[in-house]
């Protein structure tokens, strides 16, 4: 289509009140680390306030020694990067190959890495809540986490989420 269209202006639907998005990131695999970070960076780009509660394996996304080396498994993941019989996913090295494949997909699509997304979100003042219970259960100390995390329990997150316009569990 070569002709320009005149879209409906939507300024009348804009609310001056800042919207809030509250996310729970509960999974620590490479593929599952992307959705909360994509939603968070998008929401702050829309002018929203965003907080992510990293809990259970999701805490790996904030873990200094782990966030750069998250993995995706082929085993029990029929939609995963390796389209192979499930049992092949149990072979040593299959997870490494699946992870490498997913990283190549992302790189080919010019998608940021997880550390890039973390930097983008942090620069845009996304609040990173680190689940205190997970830290206790999995023996993670504050010094194990990347800079700028708020250590918080469920009550503190729910207090934050109670005034959010959208709450999502990932």
């Amino acid at each position: 289509m070569t002709t320009a269209t005149q879209p409906e202006t939507a300024t009348t639907t804009h609310e001056s009140r800042t919207k809030r998005l509250a996310l729970v990131a509960s999974k620590g695999t490479l593929d599952q680390a992307y959705p909360p970070l994509i939603l968070a960076t998008t929401a702050v780009s829309l002018g929203w306030e965003v907080g992510i509660y990293f809990t259970f394996y999701g805490l790996d996304i904030l873990h200094k020694d782990r966030f750069e080396s998250l993995k995706v498994a082929s085993l029990a993941n029929p939609s995963g990067p390796l389209q192979v019989p499930n049992v092949v996913g149990a072979i040593p090295g299959a997870t490494a190959v699946a992870t490498k494949t997913m990283k190549r997909w992302m790189d080919n699509a010019s998608m940021p890495t997880i550390p890039d997304f973390i930097d983008m979100a942090r620069d845009l003042d996304v609040t990173f809540f680190a689940c205190a219970t997970t830290m206790g259960v999995m023996d993670v100390s504050e010094s194990d986490l990347i800079e700028g995390c708020d250590i918080a329990g469920a009550a503190a997150f729910l207090d934050y989420a109670a005034t959010a316009d959208i709450q999502l569990f990932i």
């Binding site: 289509m1 070569t2 002709t3 320009a4 269209t5 005149q6 879209p7 202006t9 939507a10 300024t11 639907t13 804009h14 001056s16 919207k19 994509i38 960076t41 998008t42 702050v44 780009s45 829309l46 002018g47 929203w48 699509a109 010019s110 998608m111 940021p112 983008m120």
Partner: protein, 86 residues
């Protein structure tokens, strides 16, 4: 690069996000608008297949004015007038 439009909008800045997928066009557009003044127009070029849905949503949520869309099939050009937001 400034391309032609029918509304006569004159872009103060151009951002080409060709080849980039969500969330990068929206993220980079927000960064670009942050550096601009209210009332200035950003010319945004996208090839993300979601951009025809995403960019109007982006401007609606931010309170910017979407002046014009030029849908060229595999790419779209949006002219966005910065509102009162950041």
């Amino acid at each position: 690069m400034t391309t032609n439009n029918t509304s006569g909008a004159v872009a103060a800045a151009t951002l080409d996000t060709s080849g980039l997928l969500c969330p990068l066009p929206v993220y980079k557009a927000a960064m670009a608008l942050k550096a601009m003044e209210q009332g200035e127009i950003l010319e945004l070029i996208c090839t993300d297949p979601g951009s025809l849905a995403d960019i109007p949503a982006f401007t609606r949520q931010r309170g910017d004015r979407l002046v014009e869309i030029d849908d060229r099939g595999t790419s779209q050009v949006f002219w966005i007038e910065k509102g009162t937001g950041a």
